[in-house]
């Protein structure tokens, strides 16, 4: 099998992104942008979760907290000194990345389920903080009036299309990053942490430093996914930003797709995200989590290594 190098892969991904943008523009239906935005957002979240959860084996139940941090950083900055959304994404990445680093540092002695519980606790603490912080809306929530159009000189596109393109770019950046990590020395190091930390240290792997890189990177991408959210939703309240939906989906999507490769979270997010969007329109939005739950149970039984694992296993059997 020939291996595509990172530069070629990046070019292919950007080309796919451009094609998707052009197709979406040609169709030009607002709903399509809204629905695709959500799916793209989940691709970023699932890929981010997988950097820590899949590659290093540290299960993070607090994805919603990092997502909300990104979203609330935008609300904060919007009230203090409004910036364009791409810069808000950078701010969200910095804030969530730093909190990820801090979380990694505080919880590095915890492994397995204890780490997972600590991340859940982090989400509760942050939500309590936000609920009681009036400046960003407290429990009432905060409004951000989304402009109808983005205008730069004579260039003018609907704002939702602009947000969609931004999220598409983020998804592409996240996927390229994940794939690059996977094939690098860093990726090998992450895998040793997942397999056996003691043995990793004995082989000279600085496990602590790698874990901190993973928590910071994973947190930063979740923050990026959350930063444009207030503009997308228009009205941000703690309950929607810290929603269980984000925590559950960011775990379920990589699990269903497969956690060992960058393809897994992508496949999982597209599959589950589309199913959820379909269910929201045809049945009800409340059925979303039920779908996730049922699919997760089914996959744990049928394909514990996710769809990617299932395909890999088939190929291996065919070869031998």
């Amino acid at each position: 099998m020939t291996r595509v190098n990172t530069a070629t892969f990046s070019l292919i991904m950007v080309a796919i992104g451009v094609v998707i943008t052009l197709i979406a523009h040609a169709i030009g239906v607002d709903y399509l942008y809204f629905a695709s935005y959500t799916i793209l957002q989940f691709i970023v979240l699932a890929t981010a979760w997988n950097i820590l959860g899949g590659y290093c084996g540290y299960v993070n139940f607090g994805s919603a907290a990092f997502f909300a941090l990104g979203a609330y950083s935008s609300v904060f900055v919007h009230k203090v000194f409004p910036l364009p959304v791409p810069l808000l994404i950078v701010v969200g990445a910095l804030v969530s990345g730093l909190v990820g680093l801090g979380m990694g540092y505080l919880t590095l002695r915890l492994r397995g389920s204890f780490f997972a519980i600590a991340t859940l606790a982090l989400a509760v603490v942050l939500q309590t903080l936000v609920v009681n912080w009036d400046f960003v809306g407290g429990s009432r929530g905060a409004y951000i009036i989304r402009p109808e159009f983005l205008e730069i000189g004579s260039f003018k596109i609907p704002y939702i299309e602009y947000l969609f393109i931004l999220m598409l770019a983020l998804a592409i950046i996240a996927l390229i990053t994940a794939r690059t990590i996977e094939r690098s020395q860093l990726g090998f190091g992450f895998a040793t942490i997942r397999d056996d930390e003691l043995a990793a240290e004995a082989c000279g792997v600085p496990t602590l430093r790698l874990k901190l890189i993973a928590t910071a990177l994973s947190g930063a991408f979740m923050g990026m996914a959350g930063a444009p959210f207030p503009y997308y939703i228009g009205y941000l309240q703690p309950q929607s930003a810290f929603s269980l939906e984000y925590a559950v989906n960011s775990i379920a999507m990589p699990m269903i797709g497969g956690t060992t490769s960058w393809v897994g979270p992508l496949v999982g997010a597209v599959l589950l995200g589309t199913a959820q969007q379909y269910a929201t329109v045809t049945i009800s939005s409340a059925v979303n989590l039920l779908i996730v739950g049922l699919m997760l149970v089914a996959f744990v039984i049928i394909a514990p290594n996710g769809l990617v694992g299932l395909v890999q296993e088939r190929l291996r059997r065919k070869r031998s």
Binding site: F188, T192, D196, C203, G204, V205, L208
Partner: protein, 244 residues
């Protein structure tokens, strides 16, 4: 010649239990040292303190004229200490070749002037696998290996870091006689390359054959250290093993 490893009066407590009580030990460059002791005598704690998996509260560890106290396990590996584990701990999601690639990437690669290209890394992986006779299984997973092969992989991975000292923690436990001979031959071969080896073992025939010097730990204290045949006749050692 100054010793390669100098362990000075180290102690380690777990709550109210003293696992190591003022142990002092030296290993010369190129030396083959046997370390024995009944179960629970502190051998593994001793290994863990030397290699940085645990930190000793009292005393100090010097290796290659550098103080190791407070250094993490991976930093000690970088300085040239390697260990194998009592129960093999392979990276189970990686092929045998990739298992060896880890110390090559993270330890050898990190040493100055030893930057290896990916082709060189590949060759080195294969050489190491060949040394332990696992080359035909380079792309298999650790779960496909037998016990003795697992031990060989464990030793090969420790060797991949190009150490000056190898601590083999019960590398032969549970193996058949011929398999023990296999592992012994391998350890002799490594020693001939100038690597000091601390062999921790219960199989006395292997220890006696291998060791130039023998140290005995009992209840966290070193009770004997000297020529192997003298040490095994030491009344205190006999008492520790057989009783009054």
């Amino acid at each position: 010649m100054s010793p390669l490893l100098h362990v000075d009066n180290i102690s380690k407590r777990f709550g109210g239990f003293t696992a190591l009580d003022g142990v002092t030990l030296e290993v010369a460059p190129g030396e083959r040292l046997g370390l024995i002791g009944p179960n629970g005598s502190g051998k593994s704690t001793f290994v863990n303190c030397i290699s940085g998996t645990l930190q000793n509260e009292v005393g100090s560890v010097r290796f290659d004229n550098k103080v190791m106290d407070g250094l993490a396990a991976h930093q000690r590996t970088h300085h040239g200490m390697a260990r194998s584990f009592q129960l093999p701990r392979p990276f189970h999601s990686m092929s045998l070749a990739d298992n060896l690639r880890i110390p090559l990437l993270y330890t050898v690669h990190a040493r100055p002037g030893q930057l290896r290209t990916s082709a060189e890394l590949e060759t080195r992986c294969h050489e190491l696998l060949d040394m332990v006779g696992l080359l035909p299984k380079a792309w298999q997973m650790p779960r496909d290996l037998t016990q003795v092969e697992m031990r060989k992989l464990e030793l090969a991975r420790a060797m991949a870091a190009e150490p000056k000292l190898l601590i083999a923690d019960e590398a032969m436990a549970g193996l058949s006689n011929s398999e023990v001979e296999d592992i012994l031959a391998l350890l002799f071969q490594l020693n001939e390359r100038g690597i000091s080896i601390i062999l921790i073992e219960h199989i006395m025939s292997a220890v006696m054959k291998f060791s130039q010097r023998l140290a005995v730990l009992v209840s966290g204290k070193k009770i004997a250290d000297g020529k192997p045949d003298e040490v095994v006749r030491n009344p205190e050692v006999v008492r520790a093993y057989i009783g009054e």
